[in-house]
Symmetry: C2
Subunit: 164 residues, 2 copies
DNA sequence: GTATGTTATGTTATATTATAACAATCGTCA
DNA sequence: TGACGATTGTTATAATATAACATAACATAC
């Protein structure tokens, strides 16, 4: 729970690590991380702000890639199947997965101020969901958790500017 | 946590109770549950299946209401502000709220088979989220939890048809 | 009861997000 | 090579949602 999206960090490391990781996984799984797929993943990892499909598309277009919607949605589908990204349903935007090795659900904190997203991995949340589902005899397949609020950095900034 | 959307129940009671409840709340709050707003709420409560905006719109059109998108989105906005419905972000559909008196977040079980939604009210889930958020110094404003799977009724049906 | 401001609705157009359908190309391996 | 499946190109359209501005209904004050 250390290096968070919200706090300052060496983000070039996030990017390179994500790409290296993705290449490894795709090789292992014998699936193809084609140029457009890799580029979409890189674009998604440009920051910890979830990015929309059409924003990705605009970037691809500038770079000379094909720029019809299916291009980006196919890449997103592929990356999602491989567990390399998550879709944030409440904002229709996509963000890189921090831990694609083990398939899992995305639990996210979304900051309303800086628009960054931090993925959580809480056993308690998963357990609490499982308990609730079990109580209803409900068989869980997957789930979406998106917590919207203000991150610590943005709270600090707000406090500092208030304290004039 | 008894009478669930999934199990057989007197649904006319769900509907009438929801409408009565809504009328009371709107009167208390001095806001207007106009005909179109009330009709949208009734349509949403026709079943425990979340319903899409354009499906609502089609029903309104048949009934002689105005049928341009803003009509239904405005009604949905109003009902949402009053806590009378929830939007399920992962499927872009709307469902009536079971407990509109006390403002709260929607936690939902969505059955992939019968497409019904059951609202949960689990202190454990809320607490687990709060703990995770606190660990990150994150101030929670609202959240979305949508659990997709198979409900008990649909599991039973599947088991029965398997056991030939 | 008329003026006035506010809330709600009507109307047209358009923005945003996503998929269908089919053709062309690329990669792989017999 | 050639046959096959996977990937990409291309065009069109579906599905969801909002902007902008005009009109109507409602409430309160005068
Ligand atoms: Zn980073
Ligand atoms: Zn922030
Ligand atoms: Zn019911
Ligand atoms: Zn079911």
């Amino acid at each position: 729970m250390q290096a968070t999206a919200f706090s300052p960090h060496d983000h070039t490391h996030c990017i390179s690590s994500a790409i290296t990781h993705a290449k490894g996984l795709c090789a292992e799984r014998d699936v193809r991380l084609t140029p457009v797929r890799q580029r979409v993943l890189e674009l998604i990892w440009q920051s910890h702000k979830p990015i929309g499909a059409y924003e990705l598309l605009a970037s691809l277009a500038k770079e000379g890639f094909n720029s019809a919607p299916p291009t980006v949605y196919r890449a997103l589908d592929f990356l999602s199947e491989q567990g390399l990204l998550h879709k944030l349903e409440s904002i229709n935007a996509y963000v890189g997965c921090c831990n694609p090795d083990t398939p899992h659900q995305g639990h996210f904190l979304l900051c309303q101020v800086c628009h960054q997203a931090q993925e959580l991995d809480s056993q308690y949340i998963t357990l609490a969901l499982k308990v609730s589902a079990d109580q209803h005899g409900f068989e869980m397949h997957h789930h979406t958790i998106e917590v919207v609020g203000t991150c610590q950095e943005c709270l600090n900034k707000a406090n500092m500017s208030e304290a004039t």
